[in-house]
């Protein structure tokens, strides 16, 4: 049975688990010693899935380098939060700075990786994630700087929009955040690499199949010879 996004309803895997499976897969892309910025939404779940031996400095554009885990309830510091407004803690070696410095770090290329949400990603890796003209105008926030200047950009998003249309497209119809910036797309259905030759399907999240992914993707997909199936 399909839901409104045309997705299979997975027995025993609710939306929460699905989001965590995406976050867990994204966490595999993080290596020890990296400087990483996470967008709001699903990307913010990524730290929960990092192995203990992987130490990274999480950067927040509101002026923190070295964000730690969420505080226990009742232990929140009302002035200490991430860019999404949620309370955080810091790790040893953390620092605070103003917004100009926070973006100076981004623009001058100090971020190894950013994991962002998306509205559309094109086969060339163009990203649209800030405006649906006439409908939804959340605004740019820090997405343009992050998408354009981080050394690597991973997009975590639902495969299809609420109308069931593919968010992976030949050419973005929405205004762009940045051109040719995305290198990896992780959805609830699949992991897709953006290569110089176009999109390449490398992993499929069970119980979806390669055929499911092809039929829900509105752009040419090369299929990797070594497809990895990710279990529930």
């Amino acid at each position: 049975m399909d839901d409104s996004r045309g997705r299979k309803r997975v027995i025993g895997l609710n939306a929460f688990d699905e989001r965590n499976r995406m976050a867990k897969r994204a966490a595999e892309e993080i290596a020890d010693g990296m400087i990483v910025n996470l967008g709001i939404g699903i990307p913010s779940l990524v730290p929960n899935h990092l192995p203990q031996h992987v130490h990274v400095m999480f950067h927040a554009e509101n002026g923190i380098l070295g964000m730690g885990e969420s505080p226990e309830k009742g232990m929140e510091n009302p002035t200490l939060c991430n860019a999404g407004g949620f309370p955080v803690t810091i790790v040893s070696g953390a620092s605070y700075f103003d917004s100009a410095t926070a973006f100076g770090m981004i623009r001058s290329g100090y971020l190894d990786l950013t994991i962002l949400g998306g509205l559309e990603v094109s086969q060339k890796g163009d990203l649209a994630n800030w405006i649906v003209p006439g409908k939804r105008v959340p605004g740019i926030g820090g997405a343009m700087e992050l998408a354009k200047k981080a050394k690597r950009v991973i997009v975590l998003m639902n495969h299809c929009n609420k109308k069931g249309e593919s968010k992976i497209v030949k050419k973005c119809s929405l205004p762009l955040t940045a051109k040719k910036c995305v290198s990896l797309i992780i959805t609830e259905m699949a992991v897709i690499e953006v290569t110089d030759q176009g999109l390449c399907l490398t992993e499929v999240m069970e119980p979806y199949t390669v055929q499911d992914v092809i039929s829900k993707t509105n752009a040419p997909l090369q299929i990797s010879k070594k497809i990895r199936m990710i279990g529930e």
């Binding site: 554009e61 949620f86 917004s99």
Partner: protein
């Protein structure tokens, strides 16, 4: 040298139609006592310049939600759906800047520059109507500096000269905003005598500050509560 005043003293400089630049990010670091004072004074047709439109009932969002602003210059309004509604209805103008560009435009205004050159926003809607300037064979956008009639700032500690220290991520845009107002009002959680702050720890030098008021305390809630 003593710049400490009352909330009423501070509100004298805030009039209908004026431009107000505010420190804070997602409500955190917006000066709560000054914002409540501005609300009670009932001033209208304000131009608000700062990171975002807050949340409907948190921080600067309270002023936006009551329709007291005619224009916002911000990086996003996604956390305040009322701001989106006012914009769609044509009741409020919104100018978006990428967040880092906005921070630099404010900083430029505060340090006496006419603007900045950046490649952020090239090949996007952001470049519309802006001058492109080639530097060493690469294109940059000219982004103009921002200043305001009044800047409102939240600090952890101020001395009576206006030297400021901030607290954790409530620093965010506050040190930039403090520099860019023609008249800068600081709401501080603690006000101390001159000489009590270690000069090595001061983030904003008092030269930028015109008035200091005592904060009545943080009243923002976590956004999801």
């Amino acid at each position: 040298m003593n710049k400490v005043g009352s909330l009423d003293d501070a509100l004298v400089s805030i009039q209908n139609g004026c431009s107000i630049m505010f420190g804070g990010f997602g409500g955190v670091g917006n000066p709560p006592t000054l914002i409540n004072g501005i609300l009670q004074k009932g001033v209208k047709a304000l131009t608000l310049i700062g990171n975002d439109a807050g949340f409907p009932t948190i921080g600067i969002g309270k002023i936006v939600s009551l329709g007291r602003a005619k224009k916002l210059i911000v990086s996003h309004i996604g956390s305040n759906p009322i701001a989106g509604q006012l914009m769609m209805n044509g009741e409020m103008e919104v100018e978006f800047s990428p967040q880092g560009t906005l921070a630099e435009r404010i900083r430029a205004g505060g340090v006496g520059l006419g603007g900045i050159l950046t490649d952020i926003g090239l090949d996007s809607m952001v470049e519309k109507g802006k001058q492109k300037i080639p530097v060493n064979g690469k294109d940059f956008l000219l982004e103009t500096a921002l200043t305001a009639d009044v800047s409102i700032v939240f600090a952890k500690k101020a001395d009576t000269f206006g030297n400021l220290i901030y607290e954790t991520s409530a620093r965010n845009t506050n040190p930039l905003v403090a520099m860019a107002g023609s008249y800068t009002i600081v709401e501080a959680e603690e006000i101390v005598e001159i000489g009590e702050l270690d000069p090595e720890h001061i983030v904003t030098p008092g030269i930028y500050v015109d008035m200091i008021i005592q904060s009545q305390g943080i009243d923002w809630k976590w956004a999801w509560e």
